[in-house]
């Protein structure tokens, strides 16, 4: 936030203060019975302005005006000096009581997202010395770094310049850099993805709170246990991307894979040996790592997220499928690659999850109704438009995909989740899936990832 911009000298800064003080006096003379608020930023160092700093100022400035308006204060005049080399500043002339206005401004300095770097002086003609926090019986401003009395820390220069800048930068990033992409939210969204998916019902063949579908060894509680066991892994995956340094993003993926192996152990320990989320561990790890990486680099768009994933996985298909012919034990995905040349979730991941971003997420955005209705329609849409490797494995026949496509079309023809006939059809499918021992594990995984991305962009 502070590395770009024109440096100013101490003389420039001190001269600017005297100029501002003069302008203040002029306004006080012009509005003798009004309150003058001088709004500026406390930016340490010699760079006092740039685009980011101006954004912070304008954001806070608009917030101040809205707050005054909401509290029915009449604003007499505003004067904004956005382009000063010494940093943006401005005056707001308000009709009101000095102490009351000062309290509003102190509250804003405390509650605005970056209020702590705002400095709002409040004064009147009759009371030219600014009303201090202490005079109102309020505690002094807190230091950005250690929360002690800011004046003492500033005077004693307790903290290094870098420490103070880092503290401000953290505040800035938390507010301006797509807050939904931060670690706490992203990990939360990943867990929500898993829990929303298992809570959704009725689902053909899949586990939900009302039915264990075509699964004999697990129920909804197994999924809850598994979800909770993966929290550490989700945080690790996000942090790995956030902290990643280097040009070769395949190194990030290799790091995630190591974490992923540990996560599988944690899952099996929590579920007593049942595979609930192996596919989700693979894909959510990749997505979380990429989310952390993009957030750190201020690239919080899906285009950047997909590009990052592709770079992470550029060698995945070559390395994963090269030795299959001689490998002893094969996963379902590996067997199907040999049998049908279906690259499955690996192919999907390596191409940046086009099924999510070009198919499932647009569908989710287009759905309406309750969250259950929206997610059921999205799931059935995914199932009808993808090659679910779990379904192929359980059917033992790739022709099951054509049948699934027909079921999906029938479901939507009946009116989908908003029609009783659509819901009855899902129950009917669930029964059929149980009889034929079919399930939609692959589609469920994609639904989880769609929920994750939908939460990231606040579609749901």
């Amino acid at each position: 936030m502070f590395t770009k911009g024109q440096a100013v000298s101490l003389t420039d800064i001190l001269t600017n203060k005297e100029v501002r003080s003069f302008r203040q006096a002029q306004l006080q003379a012009q509005y003798p019975d009004k309150i003058i608020c001088a709004v500026k930023l406390n930016i340490p160092g010699e760079i006092k302005t740039n685009t980011a700093i101006k954004n912070v100022f304008v954001d806070g400035w608009n917030n101040i005006l809205q707050t005054l308006d909401a509290l029915d204060y009449h604003i007499e005049q505003v004067a904004q000096y956005l382009a000063l080399p010494t940093g943006p500043e401005g005056f707001i002339v308000v009709d009101g009581q000095l102490a009351a206005v000062k309290k509003v401004m102190i509250t804003l300095e405390t509650t605005l997202p970056l209020g702590r770097i705002f400095d709002i002086d409040v004064m009147t003609q009759v009371n030219t010395t600014q009303l201090s926090r202490q005079a109102l019986g309020l505690p002094p401003r807190q230091c950005l770094v250690c929360n002690q009395d800011a004046k003492i820390c500033a005077k004693a220069q307790t903290h290094s310049y870098q420490e103070v800048l880092a503290a401000i930068d953290r505040l800035y990033q938390a507010h301006f850099k797509a807050p939904r992409w931060n670690q706490v939210n992203a990990v939360n969204f990943a867990q929500k993805g898993l829990l929303y998916e298992v809570s959704l019902n009725p689902k053909p063949g899949l586990v939900d709170p009302a039915s264990t579908g075509a699964h004999q060894d697990m129920d909804v509680f197994t999924f809850i246990d598994s979800t909770l066991a993966l929290q550490t892994y989700f945080n690790e995956a996000y942090i790995a991307g956030f902290n990643f340094v280097g040009d070769d993003l395949t190194a990030l993926f290799n790091q995630l894979r190591q974490s992923g192996i540990k996560a599988e152990h944690a899952m099996f320990a929590a579920t007593k040996g049942v595979n609930t989320h192996k596919g989700a561990i693979f894909s959510l790890g990749i997505l979380l790592g990429a989310t952390g990486y993009c957030y750190q680099h201020n690239l919080t768009t899906f285009a950047h997220l997909q590009a990052t994933i592709k770079l992470m996985l550029v060698t995945l298909l070559a390395t994963d499928f090269e030795d299959l012919a001689t490998k002893q034990t094969l996963t379902a995905g590996e067997q199907q690659f040999l049998k049908y040349q279906v690259t499955g979730i690996r192919g999907e991941a390596a191409t940046g999850y086009p099924t999510i971003f070009a198919l499932a997420l647009p569908k989710l955005r287009a759905t309406t109704g309750t969250l259950t209705q929206r997610l059921l329609d999205t799931l059935m849409y995914i199932a009808g438009h993808t090659r679910d490797s779990n379904l192929i494995k359980r059917a033992g026949d790739i022709n099951i995909l054509a049948e699934m496509q027909t079921w999906s079309e029938q479901y939507f023809a009946l009116g989908g989740s908003k029609a009783d006939a659509g819901i009855s059809f899902l129950h009917h499918l669930d029964t059929e899936f149980k009889q034929r021992n079919l399930s939609l594990g692959g589609s469920a995984d994609l639904l989880i990832l769609t929920i994750y991305t939908g939460l990231l962009e606040a579609t749901i």
Partner: protein, 97 residues
């Protein structure tokens, strides 16, 4: 050297210091107001004193309102106040700036 006229530099904003100099007869007579006077009062006076000595001023009344200014700010404000008091520089006319 003697102070020729009363002069002021600085503002009452936080992190600044306002220094007013006027003619005196009895060495340096300080009047200091500061939220951090207890911890830093002597240091603030010492910084201003060193500037006055550098300009060879023997007598002055120094009225100071400190708002938590750093040492380099105190020094710069003191220099400006002295230069204005000695009429080395013109007191700026902010109206034309």
């Amino acid at each position: 050297m003697e102070i020729k006229k009363m002069a002021m530099a600085g503002t009452l904003e936080s992190s600044d210091i306002q220094i007013m100099l006027s003619a005196g007869t009895n060495g340096y007579e300080f009047e200091l107001e500061s939220d951090v006077a207890k911890q830093f009062g002597d240091q603030i006076k010492a910084t201003i004193t060193s500037v006055l000595q550098a300009y060879a001023i023997d007598n002055a009344k120094i009225s100071v309102v400190d708002k938590g200014a750093l040492d380099l700010v105190i020094k710069a404000r003191a220099v400006t106040a002295v230069q204005r008091a000695l009429e080395i520089v013109d007191t700026p006319n902010w109206e034309v700036l």
